[in-house]
């Protein structure tokens, strides 16, 4: 194979995630785009499981496993220290899960985005506390089964991208391990920008979503093709760009392959479809407004 086409892997074998993990695949793609010249912060989550217990270590760059709720200020502390040392050319990336981002880490992430700390923050969202089993988080979609929402989650998934956009941060984007070129382009774009950059990766979890071990990429693809998880980016909190026009498949196609939705009633599927359609219209309108204001 042409060496130019074959990407240089930064992560190495030895990681401890479940077989077929979508999150580990997403991390691998993120690290490929980051390259060797960076410092990484991980916090308790499946990200830390993937990074490995001592003496295993898979990330391939210097990293720090910090506390659950402080991925962002930890990365900012390292970044500011590197600048003080005259090493401003070394970017710092923070990996956190959905619990560490949507829930317990939201305050400290908001603080960093508000100060526009010069970090790249990547949320590897598998839509529940998967590292501790399968417990509901504010990233868990409505009606979804988890160990602590046995009859289905009663709350909607928190709109983290809108929360981040409200900070007017320079760059926020969604990305999927089923669309590696898009994901790598976004990481590289983030690297070229200064200030707080936020990447939201939806990472299928074979264990928690109750999908087959060979299904993570397909489910990630379906999340995009059904508009459950559209691929888009937001610049300066204002300019919305949709990066991929999906096939707008019915949400059943995404839901029916996951055991965590086995209990869904037909009317609940309709409600999910309605909410997906509503969100898509809203996103499309924002993207259109951005084009108009650009012209």
């Amino acid at each position: 194979m042409n060496a130019l086409l074959r990407p240089t892997e930064i992560m190495s074998p030895g990681q401890m995630s479940c077989p077929g993990c979508g999150l580990a695949l997403g991390m691998r793609q993120v690290m490929r785009a980051m390259g060797r010249r960076c410092v990484v912060v991980v916090v308790p989550s499946c990200v830390a499981v993937t990074t490995g217990p001592f003496p295993n270590y898979t990330l391939g760059v210097p990293a720090f496993h910090s506390a659950f709720e402080i991925a962002a200020p930890t990365a900012a502390g390292i970044r500011n220290a590197l600048i003080q040392q005259g090493q401003a050319d070394i970017p710092v990336l923070a990996f956190a899960g959905d619990g560490g981002t949507f829930d317990i880490g939201l305050q400290s992430l908001s603080g960093c985005a508000d100060r526009n700390e010069d970090i790249i923050y990547v949320c590897m969202d598998n839509e529940a506390y998967m590292n501790t089993g399968i417990q509901v988080s504010s990233a868990t979609p409505e009606f979804t089964w988890t160990g602590t929402s046995p009859s289905g989650n009663t709350r909607r998934k928190k709109k983290i991208m809108e929360i981040m956009a409200a900070h007017r941060m320079p760059y926020a984007a969604t990305a999927s391990p089923a669309f590696p070129e898009d994901l790598e382009r976004k990481i590289k774009k983030a690297k070229s920008i200064r200030g707080t950059r936020f990447i939201h990766v939806l990472a299928p979890c074979t264990t928690g979503w109750k999908i087959r071990e060979d299904m993570a990429v397909k489910v990630a693809m379906l999340s995009v093709e059904t508009n459950i998880f559209p691929l888009y980016e937001i610049e300066d909190g204002l300019k919305y760009t949709i990066n991929y026009r999906s096939r707008r498949l019915p949400v059943e196609r995404y839901l029916e392959v996951q055991g965590r939705y086995r209990h869904l009633k037909p009317e609940q599927t309709v409600l999910i479809q309605n909410e997906v359609d509503r969100s898509w219209e809203e996103l499309s309108a924002r993207a259109e407004r951005s084009v108009v204001s650009d012209a």
């Binding site: 270590y57 990330l59 210097p62 720090f64 910090s66 040392q85």
Partner: protein
């Protein structure tokens, strides 16, 4: 240069002279003037380091310890609720062997709400692996900030320099602020290990086994033991450079004392007046000032107090269900003496009430008259 300043300003002046690279802080009464003063100086370029105006004390400590791991000099200041919020990260800062320095202004912990001096906030952080020194006045506080950077960066453990709300933080006293040249000569440029090396990528704070965890804790424990000698050396070097040193334990009038009063922090300066008056009245009383709490100077305490028949410990804090915390620590340090002194604990000034010379004299007379020493504390109260 001699300046008439508050304890908080004295802390800020000392921090500025130590050339910190990263300061991260969050407002809380009565620490806030430290944060404001340092922010002013960062804004005007008087401090070359970066001020991170974080959204909580928890994040401030997260940023400080991460910056310290990167290899720069870091400082934060907090009080009370802020310190309690930091608690989780305090363990990280010591467990990862950082050199973070903190000014902790003793303030009551809620509930109920109050703003006055009470040592229970910092003493509650006893087991976090931080070194702790309790300061008597503005000058000692400023001097200990400068010493703390040298100690923390030598031992590779974080250090708290503790000053009391209002009695130090907001009271003005003449303070000798050394020159930049003299501080530069005393405190060399930061040389902490740089843990994030691109050429040799490693993983700070991985998940470890039971045995590995135990080994980490044992090494930290060895470092704490080693710290006692470092603290003594730094104090001596500071004395040579600046003409002021504090020793590990200060004891006066022990030679013929029937009773030694043990105090910490600002109660000590008032006790100096009370003990002098008692001596003039013919009462054979000595005074022992405890400064260092972690590491606890067991040998120095034993040396100072082993031949004293009676000891009264007077303090501004309580461990509910037991007694004043310094008293418990003192008893445990003395337990293996051949004939351990009898120790009576007294509580006064809790919540920031005033502990004046007449109250201190009352404590001494009470202890001298004791037929039996009680295992619990005697509440002495204090003036509002």
């Amino acid at each position: 240069m001699r300046k008439f300043i508050t304890g908080n300003t004295a802390v800020a002046e000392a921090v500025r002279l130590c050339r910190p690279d990263i300061i991260a802080a969050y407002p809380i009464t009565p620490q806030t003037p430290i944060y404001e003063k340092l922010s002013d100086w960062e804004d005007s370029g008087k401090i070359k380091g970066k001020m991170m105006r974080t959204e909580s004390e928890h994040s401030a400590m997260a940023a400080c310890l991460a910056a310290s791991l990167t290899g720069v000099r870091t400082f934060t200041a907090t009080s009370s609720q802020g310190l309690a919020l930091m608690h989780e990260m305090l363990h990280f800062a010591s467990g990862l062997r950082t050199g973070v320095v903190m000014a902790a202004v003793n303030r009551t912990l809620a509930a109920p709400w109050a703003f006055w001096s009470d040592q229970t906030d910092t003493l509650s952080q006893r087991d976090t692996g931080w070194m702790q020194v309790y300061c008597e006045d503005n000058q000692e506080t400023a001097d200990m900030i400068i010493q703390a950077f040298k100690i923390a960066e030598t031992v590779l453990l974080p250090m708290m320099v503790i000053l009391e709300a209002n009695f130090i933080s907001h009271f003005m006293e003449p303070v000798d602020i050394p020159s930049q040249k003299d501080v530069d000569a005393f405190l060399p440029a930061v040389a902490l290990p740089r843990r994030f090396d691109l050429e040799n990528p490693g993983y700070v704070s991985p998940t470890v086994t039971q045995k590995q965890f135990e080994a980490y804790r044992r090494r930290t424990s060895d470092a704490m033991t080693h710290a006692l000698a470092v603290i003594a050396d730094v104090d001596e070097a500071f004395g040579k450079a600046f003409g002021r040193s504090y020793g590990i334990v200060e004891i006066t009038g022990a030679e013929d004392a029937e009773l030694v009063l043990v105090t910490t922090a600002t109660i000590t300066s008032t006790a100096r007046v009370a003990v002098k008056e008692l001596r003039e009245e013919g009462v054979k009383v000595g005074l022992c000032k405890l400064r260092l709490f972690r590491p606890f100077p067991v040998q120095a305490v034993k040396e100072a107090l082993k031949n004293i028949p009676k000891i009264a410990v007077l303090e501004r804090n309580i461990s509910q269900g037991r007694e004043g915390i310094f008293c418990s620590e003192l008893k445990s340090a003395l337990i293996n003496c051949t004939r351990p002194p009898q120790v009576q604990g007294y509580l006064a000034g809790i919540g920031g009430t005033n502990v004046d010379p007449p109250l201190i004299k009352k404590v001494v007379h009470h202890a001298l008259a004791l037929k039996t020493f009680s295992d619990g504390p005697v509440w002495m109260g204090g003036d509002a």
